[in-house]
């Protein structure tokens, strides 16, 4: 049965990276739902999360929990600043122009990060040891369990936020109809700012939990962002369940592809899947059908 164990092993490690793709994809979705734009700086949020954690925890030796919270908060504030200082004041509020601003912001953040943290890849010690745990013959790293657990907690908390709280419902209302939300008295601009804050926080969490597994460098954001974007498309852009399903599926397919075919093609596979989805089912797994009247 070693073949079966191998498959199980690949699936587990796929689910690990897939969890972080899911978090990145949710970040894309939240901003898309509030504003209609694709935020190409989403990947930089992930990179920044890892970098801040390394700074606070690795260098400044803050307690892990404090460093975690501080890093998430720092990137959330950066998300907020992106909205308030770059997108809001833009004279044109055309979607395409706003998207280009996020591309510019992404390049800016990347450059600044290179100046601050240097060019070499950095890493972080796993949160609790490196002794693998054996499940059904497959080895699972303790960090993977952290990744699953934290992702699950974040997704559960977010779901509750959107369904139970006044602010969460208001964010869904803005996503449903911005105009209707304004007429109901919902401060739409504040909800948009909040969506950037949340997406920054989500990206940061993904970066922090992923760094001990993959290392992080100033230019890691683009690839991570594109993976999260592909996951969002795969699941159905704008849908939270879709983002989670798309993230996990992409992670597993990538890992199986790398394990069974060749790891050379790992990244190619993600984009191949993206293209296949766009060709045959542009709405994604949980999407609302392909056609939309304009």
């Amino acid at each position: 049965m070693p073949q079966l164990v191998k498959l199980f092993q690949f699936t587990l490690s796929g689910l690990t990276t897939g969890s972080t793709y899911a978090l990145i994809a949710i970040g894309f979705s939240i901003i898309h739902n509030a504003t209609g734009i694709v935020n190409f700086a989403q990947g930089e949020f992930v990179m920044l999360g890892g970098m801040f954690m390394i700074t606070f925890y690795g260098y400044l030796k803050l307690p892990m929990a404090a460093a975690f919270v501080l890093s998430v908060f720092a990137v959330a504030i950066i998300g907020l600043l992106l909205e308030k200082t770059a997108l809001r004041p833009s004279r044109s509020q055309e979607v395409l122009n706003l998207v280009m601003i996020t591309v510019g912001a992404s390049i800016f953040i990347k450059g600044l990060s290179m100046a601050v943290w240097g060019k070499s890849a950095m890493t972080l010690a796993p949160f609790s040891g490196e002794d693998p745990i054996l499940i059904l013959g497959a080895a699972i790293m303790p960090q993977s369990i952290w990744i699953f657990g934290i992702t699950l907690a974040v997704v559960a908390a977010l779901s509750a936020f959107f369904v139970k709280t006044r602010t969460g419902k208001a964010m869904r209302a803005v996503a449903a109809s911005r105009r209707s939300a304004m007429l109901a008295g919902i401060p739409v601009n504040r909800m948009i700012a909040l969506s950037f804050f949340l997406s920054g926080a989500l990206g940061a969490v993904a970066g922090i939990i992923l760094t001990p597994v993959t290392t992080i460098s100033y230019d890691a954001g683009i690839m991570l962002g594109l993976k999260g974007f592909s996951a969002a498309i795969l699941g159905g852009y704008g849908s939270m369940i879709g983002a989670v399903a798309g993230g996990l599926l992409l992670g597993v397919l990538e890992s199986l592809g790398a394990g069974l075919v060749s790891s050379e093609y790992k990244d190619v596979l993600a984009f191949l899947i993206l293209l296949i989805v766009l060709f045959f089912k542009p709405g994604g797994i949980f999407g609302k059908g392909a056609s939309r009247r304009v």
Binding site: R166, K169, A170, M182
Partner: protein, 243 residues
């Protein structure tokens, strides 16, 4: 209560409103009638802060509101029920109502009692509470939209075509509800194509044509105006021929 002076507004180079002025006193029902494209909806959107104006002023309760964001205008009790895009389709009926009271920050109990009031007015919304608003029929949506607006405690309620697309029985019911809301103290600005019913329940009315107010007077007075008859009360005009 509401005083609009010399408003100019439009889309790009196309001017829609030309020095439009009107006023509404507390406790009144005022209707605004006019053909499609006369600028009625644009006027409401200017008042609600959704559409920028190029000139003129909007005063509500003696305060200039033309530079305020829409949520602050709602917060002052000036609430619009739009003609399209009036509900949040993916949210449940209950959540839609709750969002109408967003700015009031009610606690759970107060919110519940406000929702009860709306349910008493529109019992059908109670049965539909947990369904997505997008599954409602046209008439139910209109009631939900009105219910949501009432959750915000309006002082002046602006209704854009509340009878559009409704069955005749429900239209009569809708006008009855508008009258009783007014009797309970809400001032009403009614935009209608259904001119006859609107004029019947209005204290005063304005007639709009290509972005200009062309006629104003008491509701019943306008009903007998030849010009209004010709333009909006088509069937009545036939009587003249038959006479």
């Amino acid at each position: 209560m509401l005083k609009i002076r010399n408003i100019d507004a439009g889309y790009g180079k196309i001017q829609i409103l030309h020095r439009t002025s009107l006023h509404i006193r507390e406790g009144e029902i005022v209707s605004l009638i006019g053909a499609n494209g006369a600028g009625k909806t644009t006027l409401l959107n200017v008042i609600s802060g959704l559409h920028p104006l190029k000139g003129g002023s909007v005063m509500f309760q003696n305060r200039e509101i033309q530079a305020m964001p829409p949520d602050r205008i709602v917060g002052m009790g000036l609430i619009q029920v739009p003609e399209t895009d009036k509900i949040f389709p993916p949210l449940t009926v209950l959540e839609n109502l709750e969002m109408g009271a967003y700015l009031r920050r009610l606690d759970r109990r107060a919110l519940q009692s406000e929702i009860e009031k709306i349910h008493a007015l529109f019992p059908i919304l109670r049965d539909r509470g947990d369904r997505a608003a997008g599954t409602l029929s046209g008439g139910e949506r209109q009631m939900l939209a009105l219910g949501r607006a009432l959750m915000g405690k309006p002082r002046l309620l602006m209704l854009d075509e509340p009878s559009l697309g409704l069955a005749p029985v429900i239209v009569a019911e809708m006008f009855g509800i508008i009258q009783s809301l007014n009797a309970m103290g809400t001032t009403i600005l009614l935009v209608e194509q259904n001119a006859r019913e609107a004029l019947q329940i209005s204290n005063r009315a304005y007639v709009m044509e290509t972005g200009r107010i062309v006629l104003t007077g008491a509701g019943v007075e306008l009903m007998s105006n030849e010009e209004v008859k010709r333009a909006f009360l088509g069937n009545d005009y036939k009587e003249k021929w038959e006479r």
